[in-house]
């Protein structure tokens, strides 16, 4: 049984180490103001369920992301049922801090952003975990509450769809429409 002090110390360390990452996770998926609430709610859950928070380094963030994701999904559920979270994309054209050394033109970035926005929420969800949260498949799967195999399958589909959107001449938009309109697979996040 931890003393309150030890418990507090552990939680402070958890908060200090991971708050920024959880906030970024939320900011990618909701407005900056709401993201702060989501991060706070996530850590409140962690505080109340500290014994349930994994202690191994690689497992902590996926656990926190999963809590944050549920908070976000439930906030969205006020009007409709959702199983996937749309992921926002930065408005790079107006951001001075964006790296300019990638050699891509404004048109390229516009195309990329447009292609991203044409992805389904499910596709954005799985791609974002790999791209921005930088999670390996097993951890990303844990965030979504699905198996690693199911995650890899979704990632592979989403990747294919995005490639198709970026190379319309090689992959006509009509070739895989089902991927963009199909509902989320049934292995649910619950």
């Amino acid at each position: 049984m931890e003393t309150m002090t030890a418990r507090e110390q552990r939680f402070r360390a958890l908060f200090t180490t991971h708050h920024d990452a959880v906030l970024r996770f939320a900011r990618r998926r909701t407005s900056p103001a709401h993201a702060e609430d989501i991060a706070a709610e996530t850590f409140l859950v962690a505080w109340r369920r500290l014994d349930a928070v994994p202690t191994r380094a690689g497992e902590v963030l996926p656990w926190l992301y999963a809590v944050a994701r549920h908070c976000l999904l439930n906030a969205e559920r006020s009007d409709r049922r959702q199983e996937a979270l749309a992921v926002r994309i930065g408005d790079a054209l107006s951001e001075p801090g964006v790296r300019a050394d990638l050699g891509d033109s404004v048109a390229d970035r516009t195309d990329l952003a447009a292609a991203w926005r044409r992805l389904s929420a499910t596709e954005q969800d799985v791609l974002a975990l790999a791209l921005w949260e930088d999670l390996p498949s097993p951890q990303a799967a844990r965030v979504l509450g699905i198996s690693a195999t199911a995650y890899r399958l979704r990632l592979s589909r989403a990747r294919r769809t995005l490639r198709g959107l970026l190379e319309p001449s090689q992959t006509p938009p009509t070739s895989e429409p089902v991927l963009r309109v199909a509902p989320a697979p049934q292995e649910s996040t619950r």
Partner: protein, 342 residues
């Protein structure tokens, strides 16, 4: 606590799309654009969390009260079930209801007044759109202040006092609020662990004879329906329902899964609450506007002459019924605002 370069866990994939596209997409990271995060707010959140008792319903300082889950459904046949739930509250912890009794006992007027006052304060306003967009096929809701609700009935089950508040507005909507709060008999303190649900509906015709209606149904606190699965822990929610009975009915026993509860009856209305669910927690909520999940409730009616009708069927309301339900829980001194679907 600004948004800085992410610390990768252990990238196992050499690339997601291809190295170039990955780099360009990563440059479009929404977390690194827009207004920078305010470190002071993160510090305030940390202080707020640490100041909360981890074993009690806790409060995070958030700028505004977010409406609890609102769910509008059009359903014919049975009354639409509005469920909503709460998070971050221990009101639903199984141990909390240890004193609950299946048969209600009378409650002192002074205790009813305390809980009713706290209930009205927590419920605030029922109805209205809260600025949210409702589906096109759902008519806009009117609203009513909880201060306008009258106590319809109240009971005591162990340390818990239940109040059912109601009113009917001139447009024909009927409005209900129900609260449970821990207020042991003889206690001079304030009610604790108050949970509330509120709903508005089209109103149902009063049944005659042996008839009865299913009014609103709601869960006070399915705290961890989603999170509980995730966290490997599931708090037990409490549910409530009410309705009308015909003049021949003198007793209503409600079966909700494994739980049976004798409702309180007064002036042609009944109401009950119990630890547990009102719908099957393993079945997902439908999209709003597409009807409701089937409640798990069955009813036994006792008539004036002593006859018991088991598995009695409710009167079906005619036409469509719109129910809005919301729910929240708080301690006597704090309010939690996040909602979770069960």
């Amino acid at each position: 606590m600004n948004a800085k370069t992410p610390t990768p866990l252990r990238p196992s994939h050499p690339h997601v799309i291809d190295p170039d596209t990955d780099a360009r997409l990563r440059a479009l990271d929404a977390a690194r654009t827009g207004t920078p995060a305010d470190p002071a707010r993160a510090d305030a959140a940390l202080a707020s969390i640490l100041a909360s008792d981890p074993s009690l319903p806790a409060t995070v300082t958030t700028p505004s009260r977010r409406p609890a889950l609102r769910w509008a459904a059009a359903a014919a046949g049975i009354a639409a079930v509005g469920t909503a739930a709460l998070a971050l509250s221990t009101a639903g912890a199984p141990a909390a209801y240890a004193t609950w009794t299946a048969t209600p006992s009378t409650v002192l007027d002074a205790d009813v007044a305390k809980v009713a006052q706290a209930c009205r304060a927590q419920v605030g306003t029922i109805g209205g759109s809260h600025g949210e967009e409702l589906p096109a096929d759902v008519p806009p809701m009117t609203s009513v202040s909880a201060d306008d609700l009258d106590v319809r009935l109240a009971d005591r089950r162990g340390d818990w006092v239940f109040v059912s508040l109601t009113t009917t507005t001139s447009d024909g909507y009927s409005w209900d609020a129900a609260c449970i709060a821990e207020l042991p008999a003889g206690s001079s303190g304030a009610p604790k662990h108050l949970s509330s649900v509120a709903s508005g509906g089209g109103g149902l015709p009063a049944p005659t004879g042996q008839g009865f209606t299913q009014g609103s149904m709601a869960e006070f606190g399915a705290t961890s329906g989603l999170l509980g699965t995730l966290l490997g822990q599931r708090d037990e929610p409490a549910s409530t329902t009410n309705g009308l009975v015909g003049p021949e009915v003198v007793g209503v026993r409600i079966h909700a899964g494994d739980v049976s509860v004798d409702a309180s009856l007064k002036d042609g209305t009944y109401a009950a609450w119990w630890p547990g669910h009102v719908i099957d927690p393993d079945k997902p909520l439908p999209p709003s506007g597409e009807g409701g999940p089937e409640p798990i409730l069955t009813y036994d009616l006792t008539l004036k002459d002593g006859t018991v009708i088991t598995d009695a069927k409710p009167w079906a309301p005619s036409g469509e019924l719109i129910i809005e339900s919301s729910s929240s829980t708080s301690t006597s001194s704090s309010t939690t605002t996040q909602s979770f679907a069960p």
